[in-house]
């Protein structure tokens, strides 16, 4: 369905979670880039320009929301859609994420097939808007 290999940057402080994302998303045909904190995610996003970023909102070192602010405030990365991954169903700060233009949300324990479908939907929508 997708013409060329899309790059997904996954940002999560848990190495096991990163490994799961890497295996599953690679198997689904994505090129997977990884970062373990907000600082790394900014460097990776600026250097390798992913097509989409999956951002854990609960990282201890650099807060996910402030990382999204930095991404949205940088011309090199502002157009990259960001999907927020969270461990809780009720995101109390969802209004903020919404107003910063987050492309979507999913709960981490969701089925990986559902997560992949969500990523593909967002990428297709993004392609449509840019063409």
């Amino acid at each position: 369905m997708l013409r060329k290999k899309k790059k997904v940057l996954v940002v999560d402080d848990d190495p096991d979670t990163l490994l799961v994302y890497e295996k599953t998303l690679s198997a689904a045909g994505f090129k997977v880039l990884k970062a373990m904190n907000g600082k790394q995610s900014l460097e990776e996003a600026r250097k390798n320009r992913p097509d989409i970023i999956i951002m854990d909102i609960m990282m201890p070192e650099a807060d996910g929301i402030s990382s999204i602010l930095k991404l949205k405030g940088d011309d090199r990365t502002s157009a990259i859609p960001v999907v927020v991954a969270t461990s809780v169903e009720e995101m109390e700060d969802r209004t903020v994420a919404d107003s910063l233009g987050v492309a979507g949300y999913f709960v981490k324990r969701a089925n990986m097939d559902q997560i992949i479908t969500k990523i593909e939907e967002i990428l297709e929508e993004n392609d449509r808007q840019q063409s």
Binding site: S66, G73, S78, T86
Partner: protein, 256 residues
């Protein structure tokens, strides 16, 4: 019982009468305004117990009147409450109130008239509608505009970063302002400038380290100099006060 909370909001206005000509020593201001903030907070928490849209609307309007009055009379001491921390049970109510107060402050600086201020305050207070017990379509009659939306967005982001839910890392006021400045293009730069002028990078109670390597606590902010508050440090068992707005050779290197 359900009506009492809104009445208490109005009764609190009488607290001002006992002050001699409004001359209150600076260090005593937060004490008086704290109860005013708490009264507003009780009013927001009380919205859930209101029955029917008319009663909720009535309470909301009274709360907004009181919020605008409080800020018109004494902006600095009301804003001091924004750095307070709240438990999980009060989180969404305090956040809603803080977004409302910040938005009104920004609107005042932008020269909004009272009617527009109150409309925006209603939208800001209820931006997390169902979470504080306000029906989804209750305020659809208010005509929002781009400037109001920008103000509420900035206020929401500022308060969310400084008062995160339990599952997220808390940022200091200075880190939050830096994050907001980093997000060039996300916010209206003129609004960010006002926010920086009005809110200290280091609110009262912030733990800071100075360029002299001394560690201390911010005991007072200096209006117009958000990075140069008054800091109390412990110097060999003796408390020493350093006003960074006067002592320009020393600066804050980090906060905790």
């Amino acid at each position: 019982m359900t009506d009492n909370r809104a009445d208490e909001v109005w009764l609190s206005k009488g607290e001002e009468k006992d002050r001699p000509d409004g001359q209150v020593p600076a260090e005593q201001e937060p004490r008086g305004e704290l109860s005013r903030y708490d009264t507003l907070l009780e009013g927001v928490k009380g919205l859930r117990s209101k029955k029917g849209e008319t009663e909720i609307m009535d309470s909301l309007k009274k709360l907004v009147e009181q919020a605008v009055d409080s800020l018109s009379e004494n902006t600095i001491s009301v804003m001091l409450n924004l750095s307070r921390n709240f438990g999980k049970e009060d989180f969404i109510y305090a956040h809603s109130l803080n977004v409302c107060l910040l938005s009104v402050m920004l609107g005042m600086r932008r020269g909004f008239d009272r009617r527009r201020l109150k409309d925006m305050a209603l939208l800001a207070l209820t931006h997390a509608k169902k979470d504080i017990g306000v029906p989804e379509n209750l305020l659809k009659w208010i005509e929002s505009d781009k400037e109001m939306d920008e103000i509420i967005k900035l206020s929401d982001v500022y308060d969310t970063l400084t008062h995160p839910p339990a599952y997220r890392h808390k940022l200091t006021a200075s880190d939050t302002l830096v994050s907001i400045m980093d997000a060039y293009g996300v916010f209206d730069p003129a609004l960010v400038k006002i926010l920086m002028e009005e809110l200290s990078f280091y609110p009262e109670g912030s733990k800071v380290e100075l360029s002299t390597k001394q560690r201390g606590t911010v005991i007072r902010t200096n209006k117009g100099q958000p990075m140069r508050p008054v800091v109390e440090v412990d110097e060999g068992g003796q408390q020493m006060t350093i006003d960074l707005s006067k002592n320009l050779l020393i600066h804050i290197t980090r906060s905790f």
